[in-house]
């Protein structure tokens, strides 16, 4: 079973995920939601650490551009994650395993759809061994 770490911003995406649950929309249980105060809290270090410790995919979800609770937080996320994705690609790592989505607090359906699509994609790609810290594996 794959594991996906989803960083959700407190004000939009987390509320969207919450609404998704209370509306009884089903999404795969492969996803672990981590609530962050703002999507710009997520830097390269958190994404890489997630991959090291066993995540096969990482989602960074934030408010739509222009809707950030802190006015400009998600613009920073946008720059940083675009550069990180390019760099991962440049190093021959799977940059598709990192996805950035803008999901607002009322878009429960979009949250469900995004998670479904992303889980599908990661299932096809398989486990992310290239960025994994192998000492985290259980001895077989």
């Amino acid at each position: 079973m794959i594991k996906i770490a989803a960083f959700c911003c407190n004000w939009c995406s987390y509320a969207g995920a919450d609404l998704c649950g209370s509306s009884r929309l089903k999404y795969p249980a492969d996803i672990r939601i981590i609530r962050v105060p703002c999507s710009s809290r997520v830097d390269a270090s958190l994404v890489l650490r997630a991959f090291q410790k066993g995540a096969d995919g990482v989602m960074v979800n934030g408010c739509h551009p222009g809707d950030c609770h802190y006015v400009s937080g998600n613009y920073h996320t946008r720059r940083r994650m675009a550069l990180l994705k390019n760099l991962l690609k440049f190093m021959g790592l799977d940059d598709e395993r990192l996805e950035v989505n803008w999901i607002s607090g009322s878009e429960a359906g979009k949250f469900q759809q995004t998670v479904l699509d992303f889980t599908d994609k990661i299932n096809k790609l398989g486990p992310a061994e290239e960025m994994r810290d192998m000492r985290c594996q259980k001895p077989s």
Partner: protein, 325 residues
Amino acid sequence: MPKTQLTKDKLQQKVKELLESEKIEAFVGYGEGDLSLKKIPLVITRPEDVSKLTFDQTSTPLLSRYLLDGELKDKKVGILLKGCDKRALDLFEKENRINKENIYTLGISCNGVISINKMSEYLNDPTEYELNFDGEKVKASSKTGEEVEFDYQDILSPHCHICQSPTPEDVDDLIENEASEALVPIKEDGIMDSIIELEKASKEEKYQYFIESLNRCRRCFACREACPVCNCPKCLFDIENPRFLDKSTEESAQHQYYHILRAFHVADRCVGCGECERACPEEIPFYLLHEKIKKDIDEMFGEKEDALSYAYPDDVEPFEEGGEA
């Protein structure tokens, strides 16, 4: 050698005048080190010590970071600056880490510095040799009397080939380097070419290349210590709780973590001095990573300085087409 001697004489004369007129309390420059190919940073406070100062194509370490903390902070200090060093000093001023009024900047027109890593392609142990610069040619002579001659361009540091302003701008005083006329570096785009070449390679090739080069890392942190802009008071990798990076050099994930984060921390502030490349004992080409980020910043956001400190609504939207809201 006489041309280097001329520059040295001019430098010593100027510093002597400055110290005697008490315009400055101390001067930061280069002195002779234990190894023939390495100059060391040197601080002098007395006019009679100026004869220890020197400058040539082996004066590699950048001096501006010595003004950030320690004894030199808040003193009237003079400093010898190459083009890249001046860019670093400008950055510190912009970040309010130094007081420009206390600093007397003595610029020197630079004609590039040599890379020992590149020299080892020609010589077994470059540190055994003394270098003589003569126009476009460099003569290396060892203590045993052995002599080798090669082109200056071949041992020039790769970053110096693409340096945009080897002569520092807006300095209080400028020393014309006598040797510079003969040794102007050619503007050949060596680093960018290798980045473009790598971008075209297949995913497996890229992966293999970076695994092989990054896994040579011994985690000595020489690249961090040498970099003029990598100078947080408390480094992320030194924090003990939580430990972001452990001592294992077996795990490629740990190497990726260190090198990607290092690249991210310096990329938008990088002054392009190439100290990281010269400091690395394993010749890791990790400077490719921050040059790549710099290239992306340039292509996507069209500005180089501080690109990761600012973000604007009208930036490109790489994630969702049409971008609702």
